[in-house]
């Protein structure tokens, strides 16, 4: 009983201390954001670093892109985060104009379980579409063999694995398939979840990876960062310049670089199937969503300065966490967009 009372007393003290901290912090700027889970590791690193540097506190809830968009729409957060850019229709649903700021790039890689194959598999857009449409069902299919000379492909059925949960990773993958195949575009299309013609679904990167590792003959797509950290065998993919490219952070950045002219016109343009010779074709950007006209000038300034910082110092730490950094032209696009940010009608950042 006495111990219990002591615990209560300790808890009350802790609560008081927390309350005190809350009061002390009232003078500083607090920002809240919500959305995508994919960039959460780098965002939390950025928020920590930025807090240490400037004292600005940024709270982020990784509730998923869909949830982030909802919260932006409801106006309950200062910024949202989404792995997929908003479509024109979705933008129209928003009460005010929403700006997109790409923060880092990511890639989706194809991992497979073929114990007898030692060297990396070479896949083309046709073979990937064929596998996921259920038209290529055996590993020793001529179309796969054609790009893998000298590789002993087993006479085994292919088990395509996809994400079962709605996800930005799926979105990048099927956006790529839609870009390279009109058949895919018409039959399946692109979204955070789609109606898969074949295969089985695993929940999360770990669900897909688990199924692929367990099942000989399986192939599945996961995030580059996840594959790198777990040292998976990943396929090299033929890009639109005809080169088979290994998925790396550099080849992902190259994909964004290759699309930078289109990104300057509309930053929402998908960067899949980039024409740059060294670009990995299944790449995508992740975005912050911010209202162009902000209500609170103090918060707006803090947010704008944070985004500017994330484009400079922030980019330096991206690769350490297995995210591909933005190429210089895309950073420029963001800086230009930042200058259009206003608070109650007045520009937030002074011209340099």
């Amino acid at each position: 009983m006495i111990r219990f009372q002591r615990q209560i007393a300790a808890l009350s003290l802790a609560a008081l201390a927390l309350f005190g901290a809350g009061v002390a912090a009232a003078g500083q700027v607090n920002l809240t954001g919500a959305g995508a889970t994919f960039p959460y590791p780098i965002y939390s690193k950025w928020f920590d670093m930025y807090h240490e540097k400037t004292g600005v506190q940024i709270n982020y809830q990784s509730i998923g892109s869909g949830g982030g968009i909802q919260q932006v729409k409801a106006g309950t957060v200062d910024f949202g985060a989404s792995d997929a850019a908003l479509s024109n229709a979705r933008l129209k649903e928003m009460p005010r104009k929403v700006l997109h700021f790409p923060t880092v790039a990511g890639a989706v890689v194809l991992s497979y379980n073929l114990p007898s194959v030692a060297q990396p598999l070479n896949l083309t857009s046709e073979t990937i579409v064929g596998i996921y449409l259920g038209k290529i069902t055996m590993w020793n299919d001529k179309r796969i063999a054609a790009t893998n000379p000298g590789v002993e492909l087993p006479n085994a059925p292919i088990l395509p694995v996809h994400r079962s949960d709605g996800s930005g990773t799926t979105n990048i993958f099927v956006t790529y398939l839609s870009a390279v195949s009109t058949e895919w575009k018409e039959l399946v299309g692109a979204n955070t979840s789609v109606s898969w013609p074949v295969g089985i679904g695993g929940k999360g990167n770990e669900g897909v990876a688990g199924l692929v590792r367990q099942t000989p003959g399986a192939i599945g797509y996961v995030e580059l960062a996840y594959a790198k950290q777990n040292k998976f065998a990943v396929a090299h993919i033929k890009n639109s310049s005809g080169n088979f490219v290994e998925p790396t952070l550099a080849s992902t950045t190259a994909a964004a670089q290759g699309a930078s002219a289109q990104l300057a016109k509309d930053v929402r343009t998908p960067i899949v199937n980039s024409s740059a010779p060294d670009a990995y074709p299944i790449s995508g950007l992740t975005f912050l969503l911010v209202y162009q006209d902000q209500k609170d000038p103090v918060k707006a300034k803090a947010l704008a300065e944070f985004i500017r910082w994330s484009m400079t110092d922030g980019q330096e730490v991206a690769e350490g966490l297995d995210y591909a950094r933005l190429p210089a032209p895309v950073v420029k696009v963001n800086e230009a967009t930042l200058m259009t940010l206003t608070a109650t009608g007045k520009p937030v950042l002074a011209a340099k």
Binding site: T37, I63, G64, S65, G66, G67, I69, A84, R90, E93, P157, L159, S164, D165, G166, S167, G168, V188, G189, A190, N191, T192, S193, V194, S195, W196, G199, I200, G201, G202, K203, G207, G210, L211, Q214, T215
Partner: protein, 315 residues
């Protein structure tokens, strides 16, 4: 001391106590009503746009904004039924053993372990099903089933390891403790005179147990209904092992999906108004299915017991 004060004010303590308890009970109704109201409100758009077709369509395509719940209704019912088929004989059998045959000591030790099983979070069952049961099924059980029973449509297909069979087994393991612990309690509560009288009349031990089982039937059926409720709503473990495809297949080896698994999978990244509303409508349908299945099960209990509620455990 406080009740003395209350009495001074002329209000009976009994009345206050009664009121408090009634409020506590009413709160349950209010919460359920609020949930139904909110879910129905969220599903309104989908109900108006899609209509009754929602229940019969098999297509679930967020790209084309077409939503049909049939594969998920099918998956929920089949996986739960499969779980009952495995768990009921196993659960009632062990309850009989623990209550009637095993010594008190063994009985209480095994029941204790059973209750531990009930306390394991469902995600842990999911991980076990995914990493342990799935490879086991894929390498040993499913190829054997295909080889020997492949002529049945139930066991056709490819040994994935995950799918309806895995989900049914995981669910069965999760609901066995409910069936065992309640059935055992009910059996222990039946008057020992039933068995003594049967034995005195020359019945064998098995026949005497039969008499006790008959007396405990309403309680055991109640346990099964409770277990079924858990199986219908189970989300995490099933999502991890069922394979998550929206195809209806007779084969237990094929992947499927349930109503709760599709919600768990797609809710966080649902990016359209109708899409989100259709997911909420799935929740509404799950609610309705649970009510219908429970009502049917209760009717079955009533029918099986002839409305008898006088025996131990009938509550």
């Amino acid at each position: 001391m406080s009740h003395v004060k209350v009495q001074h004010r002329g209000v009976s303590a009994d009345g206050v106590y009664k009121g408090l308890l009634a409020a506590a009970a009413a709160l349950v109704f209010v919460v359920v009503a609020l949930i139904v109201y909110e879910v129905a409100r969220g599903a309104e758009l989908s109900i108006r746009t899609i209509g009754w077709k929602f229940l019969t369509q098999t297509e679930w395509d967020p790209v084309a904004d077409k939503y049909g719940a049939l594969p998920y209704i099918y998956g929920t019912l089949v996986s739960s039924l499969l779980a009952l088929l495995i768990a009921v004989p196993l659960g009632v059998g062990s309850a009989v053993f623990l209550a009637e045959i095993a010594s008190r000591r063994v009985g209480s030790i095994v029941s204790f372990v059973m209750e531990l099983l009930a306390a394991i979070p469902s995600i842990v069952y999911g991980i076990w099903g995914f990493f342990v049961l799935a490879p086991f099924l894929r390498v040993f059980i499913e190829p054997w089933l295909i080889e020997h029973f492949g002529f049945l449509p139930l066991f056709r297909g490819f040994p994935f390891g995950i799918g309806m069979l895995n989900a049914g087994i995981i669910l069965a393991i999760m609901i066995v403790p409910t069936i065992v612990s309640i059935s055992r309690e009910v059996l222990l509560a039946t008057p020992p005179t039933f068995r003594e009288a049967s034995l005195a009349l020359g019945a064998t031990k098995a026949e005497a147990i039969g008499v006790a089982l008959d007396a405990a039937r309403p309680g055991i059926l109640g346990a099964i209904i409770l277990a079924l409720g858990r199986a219908l709503g189970e989300t995490m473990a099933v999502t991890m092992v069922i394979g998550n495809t929206n195809r209806i297949s007779l084969s237990l080896l094929d992947p499927g999906a349930t109503m709760s698994s599709i919600i768990a999978n797609e809710f966080t990244e649902a990016t359209g108004k109708l899409y989100l509303s259709a997911l909420v409508q799935i929740a509404l349908v799950l609610f309705a299915v649970t009510i219908v299945v429970n009502a049917m099960a209760r009717a079955l209990v009533y029918w099986a017991t002839g409305g008898r509620r006088d025996v131990a455990g009938a509550a």
